[in-house]
Symmetry: C2
Subunit: 592 residues, 2 copies
């Protein structure tokens, strides 16, 4: 079942180049290839006998009923009918006796929905279309029904017709008819289904739904609030099921997973969504290696079959190595160009600014070797690199960014550095447990979250030099993007209390239920969450996570189709005992 | 895989009677029975080699590592270890050389978490416990590790120890360790997985996630609001993905499903949850029969194998028949005792109050025949029936309620009317499309929702006598509870506009995006939603839907474990431009 969709994409990719051949024409070739495989029944329970895209010479002579959208019409003789599965040519009958059928098929505007019944016949010799999977046959229509007529559309349903993203989001229901969106959403569904099979059927995980109306977590500044009918009392939409999944482990549920809806209010940020989905996993009696093996198996099992298979185990790198060699904690390991420490080469030179740099504490000189840079990079490329460096001067991530910038420049000049077919997974491990707070570097905050367990070798440092403690956190990186992260958790109540109260200076009362749970026989446990939207974005090669979500919000958090969020009346707010505090500016405007 | 859990319940049900044998002892018998079937790997990736509950004579001589909770200890000689899978007896070593192991196993409090390694050995002859699935073997321990110590618990982890629900919800993570909750949540997970297999793998449905941060729907008085960072602008948490699933059909997604989280703010209502889950389905080119066949197949496929198989097709009854024969639109068809119209018998009598009744418009005399009522019902039963009738006088649902009341009375007297093993599904169809508004019976409101299509035979009445129009809505009823409902939708924009504007007097602007979508080639479509919590409640025989939800809210909508909803600071509300309007009473108190 998985196969037919993956093949579909290969055909799709081939046909996305500008061509007069409609994309839909080649979409269903894959389907015939996979008829040997188990394929879902796509026409059960409905008015059609077949999908448009599945018909072939093997169907010749069959009486079929098809339902679909009118893709286009040629000289009132042919009609091309489309459904999600592909295109098929329908012959409009020309004889008097079929005048009513002709009228329906000739008068219905493009994108109207029709049902036709007729016979699958061969195309006349010479009229076959080898580029179209259904190109050997056509439908000789007997009856036709106009199911719904279509008004003039704001844009054509053809992938090569470029629309602005605003228009696409405003008419999302039309945008979804395009082949690429159909592919993205169907692949997402199937990949998640495979993940479920792996977790549930192969490894005994239990799919458990956890609440989204919860209590505000300490420091949860990015949590949406939901007023309740009790004055002054609010629920909070959690950023992850973190507390619940740990409590499930205490409850002996042992192997939990959930395709979990999560919420994060970050205001306007490009390529972020206020609600997003993660594959959320937690296990008892597991260590870091166990979680990593599980995830490697999960991705291998669910990986689309038209892509190169995922090789396991994934390579692993410490946080320190990642920073040293790639200048980032999420290195893109599809290409080299590592950062090299060349301090020693320059230690004995007399170049003043280099000596200056080396004389500072931890002063180093580092370089990136751009392979054949002299050959490919032009004068203005070098200039742009120089400018980039100046703009990012004194940011510790400069070299990492510069490395990516150079890769972009090389690729713009035609060098293939990052093979689009290559999926390069990487574990990054041994993160610091705490980081100095940005606003007050004397205080520490969790590098990830306060439930992360310290690295066993560093546990003694917790009480003396907590800033030096490494954690049992691990990130999963794919092609330079973080696609997952998790950790072994603290299961000892005393240790958790110490971290919260003594190190992080948090109010432990807000987490008293979790601390109490740890006291009542909590097993050692750990887990991970994969960012599904980001993962699907990388797998499909989509330019934005909005392209793998059916109804995404704009980068300002708006639903452009329905105009959410929207004003509501004070009357509607009354049961929640809240009122709007208009900002001074607007208040003034309203007062005028 | 499905089988082992179902069997588990049969054993569980047997053992829920008061017994000194711990329930967990019999839980895993089922597992050995099903080892012929494909069973998930339950010990992959973790520290154990086996689960406690799976060990049998066939494991004799094997070196195993087990992780679990100390269920109880006998005279410092035996220890019973529990995991989610069952119980196993561990022999505490008594020789000097194993003093440290003995110390760990003897000193750890009950419900502490330990890891033991040792050999599976036969119990000495005569010491086998045939009531315990692992009763032929025990573990000769070599090493032991205390993974976490347990403090004194608020209640014992034994199902026969009765706790108040408040206590259970407050310590939900302990309550989850009980066999019944483990069974309920695991069965739920597996049944949903089977549904997914049926929809996705067998019938080509696409699992699509739709947003929960949406726009307020017209008349959506039960929708939670979520303030955004734009002053006065609010999202709304939708009661169902209704609009989105229809838009997906317009988008050509054709066969959609989602295990959808939905929200409904009804204040305090027993056995309702502010968030709940529905199996949400929509199809294009389908009629009522198609949806019904799909659902019958779905339930048949996903039904637990230890229960009597679901027989299809389900019987069907019109709304009018249901009301006439059962006095309700969700009849419990497990038993007869139908309501019978006996007006004709009394038409010629001279009993005054009966003649009065018959002389009124549509006046009828109806009766319920209680089988062997005279034999089983006592004087005070009759009195309570009389009182019930008086209390509910003039409610049209009186006879339906009276029928259930009589069934309760008969069953209290030992008559088995409603076989607990019987699952009686029923379709109720041909509902009215509109109902008179309660507050103003001159106006009409939708009986279900405004997108429901009228019955094809009644469509002409829409413009003349809309109150007489039947709809294409269908409800699925199980044992007298509504477990699902759906309809064929309006796909014609003109018709939808007419219903919204002319019949319902709604502001069509709020739904302009949907109306516009219908204009752009919307296919005919329909769907259904099954209430998963209610369905699982009936399948498991749980007394409340709270017993099939991992972390339910109390009937006041509180999370008793974490104390949500909770107060938050005005500072935290600032980004959302809202403030609390304290009700006058509290305001006064605060002012003091």
């Amino acid at each position: 079942m998985f196969c037919w969709l993956s093949r579909l994409f290969r055909d799709l990719s081939r046909s996305t180049g500008r061509t007069t051949q409609p994309i839909w024409g080649s979409l269903s070739r894959s389907l015939i290839l996979s008829s040997q495989r188990s394929i879902p029944e796509l026409s059960s329970f409905v008015a059609r006998t077949n999908t448009c895209g599945e018909l072939r010479s093997s169907h010749l002579g069959q009486e079929v009923t098809l339902c679909g959208w009118i893709q286009y019409r040629r000289q009132n003789i042919f009609l091309v009918l489309r459904d999600f599965h592909g295109l098929v040519q329908v012959v409009i009958p020309q004889d008097e006796s079929a005048a009513s059928v002709k009228k329906i098929l000739c008068e219905a505007p493009v994108e109207s929905v029709v049902q036709v019944s007729g016979t699958v016949i061969s195309r006349p010799p010479g009229q076959e279309n080898p580029k179209m999977p259904t190109g050997e046959i056509e439908i000789k229509v007997k009856t036709a029904k106009l199911l719904n007529s279509c008004k003039k559309l704001p844009f054509e349903i053809k992938d090569f017709v470029k629309k602005t993203e605003t228009l696409r989001l405003q008419y999302r229901y039309l945008d979804l008819r395009g082949a690429q969106m159909q592919y993205n959403l169907r692949l997402r569904s199937q990949m998640v289904m495979k993940m479920r099979e792996y977790l549930c059927n192969l490894h005994g995980f239990v799919d458990i739904e956890t609440p989204t109306l919860f209590k505000r977590t300490p420091g949860g500044a990015k949590e949406f609030v939901v007023p309740s009918r009790e004055p002054g009392k609010f629920y909070s939409l959690p950023q992850s099921p973190q507390q619940f999944k740990q409590l499930l482990m205490v409850g002996g549920l042992d192997r939990y997973f959930q395709v979990a809806r999560c919420y994060r209010d970050e205001g306007s940020r490009p390529d972020r969504q206020p609600e997003f989905t993660q594959i959320d996993i937690e296990m008892s009696f597991v260590d870091q290696t166990g979680i990593q093996s599980l995830i490697e198996g999960l991705l291998q099992y669910s990986w689309p079959s038209d892509k190169d298979p995922v090789m396991v185990p994934f390579p692993s790198m410490t946080f320190a190595e990642a920073l040293a060699n790639y200048g980032t904690d999420k290195p893109d390991t599809r290409f080299g160009m590592k950062i090299v420490d060349i301090s020693d080469m320059f230690r004995n030179t007399e170049i003043g600014y280099l000596q200056d740099a080396l004389s500072k504490p931890q002063g180093t000189i580092k370089a990136i070797c751009i392979p054949e840079g002299a050959k490919y990079l032009k004068r203005n490329d070098i200039e742009s690199i120089r400018k980039f460096a100046v703009d990012h001067f004194n940011q510790c991530s400069l070299l990492g960014k510069l490395r990516l910038e150079c890769a972009d420049l090389l690729e713009a000049r035609g060098v293939v550095l990052r093979d689009p077919a290559l999926f390069s997974f990487l574990w990054v491990v041994d993160f610091p447990l705490f980081l100095p707070k940005e606003e007050n570097p004397q205080e520490l905050e969790s590098a990830h979250h306060p439930f992360t367990a310290p690295h066993p070798s560093d546990i003694h440092l917790l009480y003396t030099e907590p800033q030096k403690v490494r954690s049992q956190h691990y990130d999963l990186v794919l092609n330079g993007s973080e696609v997952g992260g998790g950790s072994i958790r603290i299961h000892n109540a005393e240790l958790q209390r110490y971290v919260l109260a003594a190190v992080l200076k948090e109010d432990v009362k807000l987490l008293s239920h979790l601390l109490q749970a740890l006291d009542y026989g909590a097993p050692p446990h750990g887990g991970i969450a994969l960012g599904l939207d980001r993962l699907m974005c990388l797998v499909t090669g989509a330019p934005s996570i909005r392209d793998v979500i059916a109804f995404p919000k704009s980068f300002r958090g708006h639903d452009l189709m329905s105009n959410a969020p929207d004003s509501i009346t004070p009357e509607e707010l009354k049961p929640y005992h809240i009122q709007v505090s208009w900002p001074t500016d607007s208040a003034k405007k309203r007062a005028r």
